[in-house]
C-alpha cells in the first residue's frame, strides 16, 4: 500500500505543516485533527530543532517553545502514532532537520517511524550530495524520502534529484526561509513543468502559501498545495482558527 500515491491519485491534496508541540502538545494534536477533519490530506509533522536555519520567524519561535516544553523526536513519533490510529488514510510525513535523526540513529528512527505508521521523511538539510546515508535505511523500512527542488535548482540537477525517488516532489516556491509572502512568484508553473518532464511523481508546491488566493494560485499549477507558517500561526490562536485556516485554503483550491 502506498498511501501517498493513493492520496495524490484521488485529488490535489492539501498538505499542512505543523510544528509538533506548539503551542502545546495537546492543542497541537487538536489542531491537526481539526485540519484533517476539514479535509487536509497530508500532515507534515515538524520535529522542533534548536537551530532551524531553513525556517522563518514563525516556525523558529514555535520550535523554541516546543523544545522548552520538552518536545523531542520520540514524542513526535508517539504523536504521529496517535494521529495514525485516529486517521488511517491521512498521509504522514516527518519533517526534520538531520541532527535529531542522526542523534537517534537513522536505522532506529526509521524503524520507529514505520511502526508509528509514518509514510515519509522530508529532510530539510539533506541535499542530493548527502542523501544516500538516509535513503538506504528509509527504503528498507518502506519510507519515502521527499526530494526538494528550489527555484534556483538547474534542470540537470533536477534530473538527478528526482531520479528513482518516490512519494512526491516538494517544490520550494521562493528562495529563502519558510514564512508567508505577500505574493507568490509568477513562474512557479514553469518550474513545475520542468520537474514534471523528468518524473512521473506528483509535485507539490510550498513556502509562502497562507491565503485562499495563494492556495488557488498554487493549485492551478501544482499537484498539491503545502502550507506551514500560516497554519502554525493559526494553531497559536485556537483549534477553531486552525480549522478555519484549513477551510480557507481548501476553498481557495476549489474544494
Amino acid at each position: 500500500m502506498d498511501r501517498i500515491a493513493d492520496i495524490f491519485a484521488a485529488r490535489k491534496p492539501l498538505i499542512i505543516f505543523t510544528s509538533v508541540g506548539y503551542p502545546t502538545e495537546s492543542r497541537c494534536e487538536d489542531a491537526v485533527c481539526a485540519a484533517i477533519e476539514k479535509g487536509a490530506d497530508i500532515i507534515e509533522l515538524g520535529v522542533p530543532f534548536s537551530d532551524p536555519m531553513a525556517d522563518g520567524p514563525v516556525i523558529s519561535a514555535a520550535s523554541q517553545t516546543a523544545i522548552a516544553a520538552g518536545m523531542n523526536v520520540h514524542k513526535v513519533i508517539a504523536f504521529a502514532a496517535r494521529i495514525r490510529s485516529r486517521h488511517p488514510k491521512t498521509g504522514l510525513v516527518l519533517f526534520s532537520y538531520m541532527n535529531p535523526l542522526l542523534h537517534l540513529g537513522y536505522d532506529h528512527t526509521c524503524t520507529l517511524l514505520a511502526e508509528a505508521g509514518v509514510d515519509a521523511i522530508l529532510p530539510v538539510d539533506l541535499p542530493l550530495e548527502e542523501r544516500d546515508e538516509l535513503l538506504e535505511p528509509a527504503r528498507s523500512h518502506g519510507l519515502h524520502i521527499i526530494p526538494l527542488v528550489s527555484p534556483l535548482t538547474p534542470e540537470e540537477r533536477i534530473i538527478r534529484i528526482v531520479k528513482d525517488m518516490s512519494g512526491f516532489v516538494y517544490y520550494i516556491n521562493v528562495a529563502g526561509v519558510t514564512g508567508e509572502r505577500a505574493a507568490l512568484p509568477p513562474n512557479i508553473g514553469e518550474h513545475i513543468a520542468i520537474i514534471k518532464r523528468h518524473t512521473a511523481l506528483p509535485v507539490a508546491a510550498g513556502f509562502g502559501i497562507a491565503s485562499a488566493e495563494a492556495a488557488h494560485a498554487a493549485a492551478e499549477v501544482a499537484d498539491g498545495v503545502i502550507s506551514g507558517s500560516g497554519f502554525v500561526k493559526a494553531c497559536s490562536q485556537s483549534t477553531e482558527s486552525a480549522a478555519d485556516f484549513t477551510a480557507e485554503l481548501l476553498r481557495g483550491m476549489g474544494r
Partner: protein, 394 residues
C-alpha cells in the same frame, strides 16, 4: 572534489543553497590555479595586512616558567588585530571575482566581523554582519569598529544569542539573496567548500611559522599550539606541519567553568557527532539531539561545533585537543601582559594557558610555538567584569 574529511564535513544545507556553494567551489578552484589571484592576495597580505607576522621568542615568559622556550606567532600584529583578515581578504577577492556587490558575515568576538567590514570597505562592497545580542553587549568596541567601517551590524536575539545563532541568521539571509550576496564564513567550518578554502587562506600562518622557526632555531618546533573554536587559526597553523609527525599539533578548546560543569565550549572533548551549519562534525548536544548553548569567557570560542578537519585529525590522533578553562585563560592573559608587554585576545589566551601548563615539564631545548591569533584590546571590559565577579580586582 572530495567534500568530506572521513565521515565529517559534507554539504548538509537546504537545496536552495546548493547552487551558491557550487558556484563558490568553481570560482575558488579556478582562482586557486590563477597566478594573478595569488599575486593580488600576496600583495595585499604584505602591504595591507603587514605580513609576514613575526615569530617572537618570549624570553622573559619562558625563563619565568623555567622549561620550554615559548615562541609566539604574532597574528595579533596583523591589520585588524587578528588572523581573521587572512581569510576575509581571500574571500573578498573571490566575491569580487564572482561579481557580488554585497558581503555578509557571522561573528562572535567581532574580530571576523571587523575583518569582513574592513575588506568590504577596501573593495567598495556593502557589508552586513550578524552578531548575537550577547556578543554585541560584551564586544562593544568591535561593534563600534564595524560601524566606523561602514558595515551594518544586525543583533540576533534567537537562542543563546551568540555565534551559533548569528550563523543561523546569516545562512537564512544568504538563502534569500545568494545571487547578489557573498557569505564570508569566518572559520574553517560550515558546508564544503568553506572548510577547504578557509584552511587554504589561513595556511600562511603555518607556512611562515615553519620557515621562521627553521631560521631562528635551526630546527622545527616540538609543539605548535592554537586555540580552537571553529578552528581556523589552528588549522592554518597545523597546515604548515602536515608532513612532520614529530611536531605535535595541539588545539586548545574552551573549557569555560570546567568540562564537568557542562558550562563550556569544548566540542571535541565534550561533544558527539552531529549535523549543523552544513557540516557533520562534533557538536555539543543534549540528550534529544538539540544543540546546547555553550559558555566561554571568550566570545570567539563560544560555538558548539568545530571544523570537520579537526574532527578527523582528533579521531586519527594526528593532532591533539586539550582544554583550558576560563580561569586558566585569564591567568595566561595576565601573565603575557606582565612578562612580555603583549595584551593577547582571550581566545589566544587559551592556547597560551596550555603552553604555560606544559612548559615547566620540558627542558630549555624544547620549543613550543603558540599561535597568538589576536590582540586583546577588545577584551578589556570583559576581563574587568570577570575579575570583579571572581574577586580578583586589586
Amino acid at each position: 572534489m572530495n567534500m568530506h574529511y572521513g565521515i565529517y564535513g559534507g554539504q548538509y544545507v537546504p537545496e536552495t543553497l546548493t547552487g551558491a556553494l557550487r558556484e563558490l567551489e568553481q570560482t575558488y578552484l579556478e582562482a586557486k590555479d590563477d597566478p594573478a589571484f595569488h599575486g593580488e592576495l600576496d600583495d595585499l597580505l604584505k602591504h595591507y595586512v603587514g605580513r609576514e607576522s613575526p615569530l617572537y621568542y618570549a624570553k622573559r615568559l619562558s625563563e619565568h616558567l623555567g622549561g620550554s622556550r615559548i615562541y609566539l606567532k604574532r597574528e595579533d600584529l596583523n591589520h585588524t588585530g587578528a588572523h581573521k583578515v587572512n581569510n576575509t581578504l581571500g574571500q573578498a577577492l573571490l566575491a569580487r571575482r564572482m561579481g557580488k556587490k554585497r558581503v555578509i558575515a557571522e561573528t562572535g568576538a567581532g574580530m571576523h566581523g571587523v575583518a569582513t567590514a574592513t575588506v568590504a570597505a577596501l573593495f567598495g562592497m556593502e557589508c552586513e554582519v550578524f552578531m548575537g545580542a550577547v556578543d554585541v553587549a560584551r564586544q562593544a568596541p568591535n561593534v563600534d569598529r564595524m560601524h566606523a567601517l561602514g558595515a551594518h551590524v544586525r543583533s540576533i536575539t534567537d537562542g543563546g544569542a551568540t555565534l551559533k545563532d548569528a550563523m543561523n541568521a546569516a545562512l537564512r539571509e544568504w538563502a534569500s539573496c545568494s545571487d547578489t550576496t557573498f557569505y564570508v564564513i569566518g572559520t574553517a567550518a560550515g558546508p564544503y567548500p568553506y572548510p577547504m578554502l578557509v584552511k587554504d587562506f589561513q595556511s600562511v600562518i603555518g607556512k611562515e611559522t615553519r620557515r621562521q622557526c627553521l631560521e631562528m632555531c635551526g630546527r622545527l618546533p616540538d609543539q605548535v599550539v592554537a586555540c580552537v573554536g571553529g578552528g581556523s587559526n589552528a588549522i592554518g597553523m597545523f597546515a604548515g606541519f602536515e608532513d612532520t609527525p614529530n611536531v605535535r599539533r595541539i588545539g586548545v578548546e574552551a573549557g569555560g567553568m570546567g568540562i564537568q560543569t557542562g558550562q563550556h565550549a569544548a566540542s571535541i572533548n565534550g561533544g558527539k557527532v552531529g549535523i549543523l551549519h552544513g557540516m557533520k562534525a562534533y557538536f555539543l548536544q543534549d540528550t534529544d539531539g538539540q544543540m546546547r548553548d555553550t559558555y566561554s569567557v571568550s566570545a570567539g570560542l563560544d560555538y558548539p561545533g568545530v571544523g570537520p578537519e579537526h574532527c578527523l585529525l582528533a579521531d586519527e590522533g594526528r593532532a591533539f585537543y586539550e582544554v583550558a578553562n576560563d580561569d586558566e585563560a585569564v591567568a595566561a592573559f595576565d601573565m603575557l601582559c606582565r612578562y612580555e608587554g603583549i595584551i593577547p585576545a582571550l581566545e589566544s589566551s587559551h592556547a597560551l594557558a596550555f603552553a604555560i601548563r606544559e612548559a615547566p615539564r620540558h627542558g630549555h631545548d624544547h620549543i613550543i610555538v603558540v599561535n597568538l591569533s589576536g590582540r586583546g584590546d577588545k577584551d578589556m571590559e570583559n576581563i574587568r567584569q570577570y575579575k570583579e565577579k571572581h574577586g580578583q580586582n586589586r
